[in-house]
Amino acid sequence: MSTEAPSPDPDRTEAFLRLLAEHERRLALYVTGLVACPQDAQDVMQEGKIIMWRQFHQFELGTNFPAWARKILFYQILAHRRRSKRAPSEHLSERLLELLSEESESASREQRWERREKALQECVTKLSPEHREILELRYRDEASIEGISRRTERTEGAVYRLLSRLRKNLYLCVEKELGTA
C-alpha cells in the first residue's frame, strides 16, 4: 500500500505529537490568515497534519518545526484551492499568497502577534452584549451570514455591514491598545 509509511519508532511518534501540540494553534492561525475562510482552513489543517506525519521522517529534530510545517501547509493551501475548482478569479493569486506568507513568517519571527492577541481579547470584552453575540454566532457557532440574519431578524445586508463594522472596530481598538494607531 503506502510507500511512505511512518516509522513506528515510539520516540519519534512522541516527538511529533509534542511538536504538533506546541505549534498547532500558530499553524492554524497562519493557514487561516492566508485562506481567510475558516472552514477551508480547517480542511487544510486536517490534510496538512496527515502529510506532516507522513513526512515527519524527513524532519530533522532540533531544527525549526514551525518553518518546516508552514512549508507543507503552504502547499496544502495551494492544493486545496486547486481541488476546490473554484475559478482562480475568486481567489487572491498564488504569487500574492507567497508574499503574504513571507509577511506572515516575519510577523512570527518578530512575535508581533502575541501582544495583538491579548489586546484583541481586551477589545472583545468592550463590545456590547448584542454585538458580542453576533461575533459568537459567526465564530463560535460558525453561523453563516444568512444564519445570523435569521437568528437576529436582520437582513443579510445588515448583518454583512454590521460584521464589517465590528471587525473594523476591533482592528482599530487593537491598534489603539498597541499604541500604533
Binding site: 509509511a5 515510539p10 504538533l20 487561516t32 476546490s84 475548482k85 503574504l100 484583541l120
Partner: protein, 474 residues
Amino acid sequence: MNDSFDTDHLLELAHGYIEGRLTPAELAELETLLTSDTEARRVYLDFLHDHASLHWDHVGTGTNTAVIEAFPPLRARRFPTLWQAFAAAALVALLALVATRPGPRETTFATMKKTEAAQWESGTLPTAEGARLGAGVVELVRGLATISFDSGAEVVLEAPARLSLVDGMNCVLERGTAVAEVGESATGFTIRTPSARVIDYGTRFAVNVDATNGATQTQVFDGLVEVEEPESKKRIALREGQQALVTGSSLGGISEGVEEGTWSNPETPARPREPGIRSITTADPGGGDTYVWGGKPTTHTSETLLLLKNGLGPDAPHRKTYLRFPLDSIAAGKIVSARLDLRLTPTGWGLASHLGDSRFKVYGILDESLDGWEPASLAWDQAPANDPASGNSVRNDLVRELGSFTVPRGIQTGSFGIDGDALRDFLNADGNRRATLLIVRETPETRGGGLVHAFASSRHPTLAPPTLELKVSE
C-alpha cells in the same frame, strides 16, 4: 496611519474576501493593492490574524451555545477537541503499529459489478466485471458501469464520467453522471463533487457534474438526500422528486418534479459513407425531418436533433420523429435493396440508467395525402398517423411497420437503422415520390426522468442527416 492607501477601504475589502462576497472588480482591486504595497499586506494580515484568532480561540468565554443552523456541522470544530481527537487516534494507531507487525490490510471495499457497452479511459483501478476495487480512479468514456460498495451502496456511472473511489462510504464524482442506490446499511454514503457534497440517507438519487464549470446537479427519486455547499457548509434537504443545482459556491433552490435533467452532451463524429450506393437524405430538396412532442410542456427542445422518448405515463413528454425522403430521382419499382441510416447522438437529457435496451420501430405512412407536412410547424395534434391522446401509440390503420432496431442500454452514439424487404417494398410502391417515415421508441422508461434519445437531423452541424441508402437496378 498611512498615506499610500485608505485603511478603512482595505479592511472593507478584506471583510468581503473573508465572507467570499467580493465582486471580481473588488477582488482585483484587493489583489493590486496588496501586491503593490508592503504596508497594505501588513495591515491586511493583522486584520486576518484577528479574524483567525477569533475563529480558533472563539469569542469570550462560552455563554449560550445555541445551535442556530438547521444542520450543525458534522466535524468536530473546537480546536482542543480536534487536537485531542487527532492525538488520541494517532496514538492508538501508532501503538497498534508498534505492538503488532503490520499484516496484509483489507484495501478493497467495492466490486465492479456490471459493465454495459463500457469503454474505459486510463484510470488506476481494474475495470473487468467482478474485479475488486480499492481507492483509485475510473474513467468511463462510453457505456454504463455499476460499482457495488461493500457498505451497501451501489453507483451506476454513465459515460462520460470520472469517479474517484475513496472508501466504502465516500467517492468523488469529478465529472459526469452517477446514479446511486443506497441501502440502509450505507446511510451517510457521500458523493463529493468539485462544488458540493451529496449525502445520502437511504435512497436513490442522481448526481451530475458539469465538466466545464463543476456545477453539481442532484435529483432524488426516492428517500432523502442532503446537498451541502462546502464553502458555506450550507445544506439543503432534498426529498423524492426534488432537485437542486450547486454552481460555483452558490447553493441553488429546490425545484420540484422528476424530469429529464440536463446532463452532459458530447458530440460524436460522422460515420463514413459507403461507396456505390445512391444516398437520399432528408436534407435533399423536398425532404424534411422533425419531431413532435405531447404531454407535459418541456423546454428540452432542439433545432438540430430529432428527439425520441417514451415517457412514463400519459403526461410525460413523449417524442416521435418524422422523416420525409424525396424519391423523384428514382423510378418506382427500381429499388433492389434499401437501408435507413440514423446517427444516434446524446441529448444530455435524462438518465440512461432509467431505461433498458431500447427498441425503436419505424413505420411508413400509407396515406400519401399526409406527405405534405411542414418540418418547422408540425404539431403533435396534426402529425400524420399520430394518436395524440395516447402517449406513444400510432394510428395502425394509417401506417405499415417497416422494421425495428434496438439501441442497447448505455449506448448514446453510433449508427442505427433498418433494412429489409418491408422498407424496400414501401419505397418502391410510393406513388407521389415522397416517403414519410415515422419513428417511435417502443421501450418506455422504467422510471421518470429517463433518457431522451436523439438522431441527428438535416440541420445538425457535424453529423450526417437521416439517410436512405438505396441500391437501384438499371
